[in-house]
Subunit: 325 residues, 2 copies
């Protein structure tokens, strides 16, 4: 690989001039510029990123940490992050979160060692995650939940679930079940509180909060429906905390000879492709994943570049009505 030195020699100028041609072209004479350009072309020169950033001490890379489950949800978010980062000239380094084997210090180290400037974290479990002292001064923005007092992107789960229950109640459904995961407390609380609000009875037998390890999502839905059938406790509606869960529930309900939505209405959460793809289409809560990623990246980059930024950005959800409820 040829360096700036080689180009300088070839073009018969100093290295400073070559550097200027790339960083501040207007200060160098047209003719000299020409010489430099053709020398660079001839030698196939590209400025060395490492040396540049070492000198300028601005890296231009952010880390995006998402769970390592293959969910379209996170893929969309990553895309939002990436698109925006790109528009600001930043690169995105992939990080991944694994519930039973995650050490954020690995990523913090990348920041401290100047391999990257900041972190967008969307684990879905920040809340259950101990603060890490090394991460104290690392520019970080989280999605969905707060972490260590950093700015975060928030979706009003409480409001969303409330709207869903309201919709179901409005449609005349009384006995409602809940299918979610242990970590989604806010949504569960919202469910219970909404039931109360609409004068509906809460039945513990119709609730399942799974463990969420690995690919248990599908099994969780299956077990849930099986236990309902076994107990002869069939709700008139099931509120699920994700579209994947809802799809699973629908599948098993149909298999058990029940009709969705006639016998049992089912609602999801996320509005990912699956919600549209299955039959019946899933009535669900839309989360603007891509925009969330977008905003997270925007906050982070602004912070990195020293601007004052918001502490919290709240996104509105809306209900998408399809056939399942």
């Amino acid at each position: 690989m040829s360096s700036i030195k080689d180009v300088a020699r070839e073009a018969q100028v100093s290295i400073a001039t070559v550097s200027r041609v790339y960083n501040n072209p207007k200060v160098v004479r047209g003719k000299t510029k020409e010489r430099v350009y053709s020398a660079a072309e001839k030698l196939g020169y590209t400025p060395n990123f490492l040396a540049q950033t070492l000198r300028k001490s601005i890296v231009g890379t952010i880390i995006a940490i998402v769970p390592d489950v293959s969910n379209a949800f996170f893929m969309d978010m990553v895309r939002g992050i990436q698109d925006y980062a790109e528009s600001r000239g930043y690169n995105v380094l992939m990080g991944h979160f694994n519930l039973n084997n995650f050490d954020i210090r690995k990523y913090v180290k990348l920041i401290k060692s100047k391999a990257a400037d900041g972190i967008v974290m969307a684990t879905g479990h920040n809340r259950h995650f101990k603060p890490v002292k090394e991460a104290r001064n690392v520019p970080m923005v989280t999605i969905e939940e707060e972490f260590m007092g950093n700015p975060y992107i928030y979706v009003d789960n409480f409001e969303a679930i409330k709207k869903i229950v309201e919709y179901l109640a409005f449609k005349g459904r009384k006995k409602m079940g809940f299918l979610g995961f242990k970590t989604e407390e806010e949504r569960f609380e919202a469910f219970k509180s909404a039931l109360k609000m609409y004068g509906l009875e809460y039945d513990k037998n119709m609730v399942k909060k799974g463990e969420e390890v690995g690919k248990a999502v599908y099994n969780s839905a299956m077990e849930y429906v099986e236990s309902l059938v076994e107990k002869h406790k069939i709700p008139e509606a099931i509120v699920c905390t994700s579209d994947v869960l809802a799809a699973g529930a629908i599948k098993w309900l149909i298999k058990s000879g029940l009709n969705v939505p006639k016998d049992v209405a089912v609602t999801g959460f996320d509005n990912i492709e699956v919600a549209e793809l299955v039959y019946p289409g899933i009535t669900t809560v839309e989360q603007p994943h891509e925009s969330m990623g977008h905003e997270a990246a925007r906050l982070l980059i602004n912070k990195i570049e020293g601007h004052e930024i918001a502490k919290k950005i709240v996104f509105q959800t809306r209900i998408i009505i399809r056939e399942s409820a």
Copy 2:
């Protein structure tokens, strides 16, 4: 940020010694090491990644380019890439591919400027992608299709589709339709060739090859089924080139009052979560996405580190039988 210099001063040793403590600890005396460690601790020192790689001229970053559609397929692949890269101490930079707005030169530049060492490319469209002269000497491994003579990871589409048709024929299905995209020529050819092999008739009316721009996947399935119904040309089986297409087809078939698989059998491709999630579960071809990513990363990193590597790695597919066929 404190540098190696600061630590050296604090510990009263030379910078060389500090460096050695981190890179080659056994050559420095225990007591000195102690001094250095506590100085580093006190100053919160982390070696500067940029300076390190500048000096060692080994970067330790690869770029993973995947399409920007939110498909679990690619998410799995990225995970495979990332997991393996991590195990070799490499970071993964996200790149994304957009059919009508993709310029690989952006990524090539990152390599040339030493921001990264190589590229794993999984666009699904390499074949239709013009060679780029700048990319000539860039370490690159592609997935699914060859590109510019680089090593690639291959799945035998021909064989896979053949197996699917064989299975359907074996089940007594005669009139078969095909739903895929224009770019998937190999699978289409395989379909036609397999029909011939089993003495079945090819009916142009039962074929759709969509354009595949953006999120058209779902619509494509809908239009396909609608046109079949309109023409009163209902096949006994439909071979789809992805699970998403299959799910869409199933949904619209059911909506049209047809029974899957009784009236129409439907098969997918990929074996992503959706295949398990919908009802009826989709009979499909399993592609080992994660392993493919894994192998791609392995090849690339070996190439980067100067080892001799394979030109082509072929993965075996297998049929996963569920309810839809």
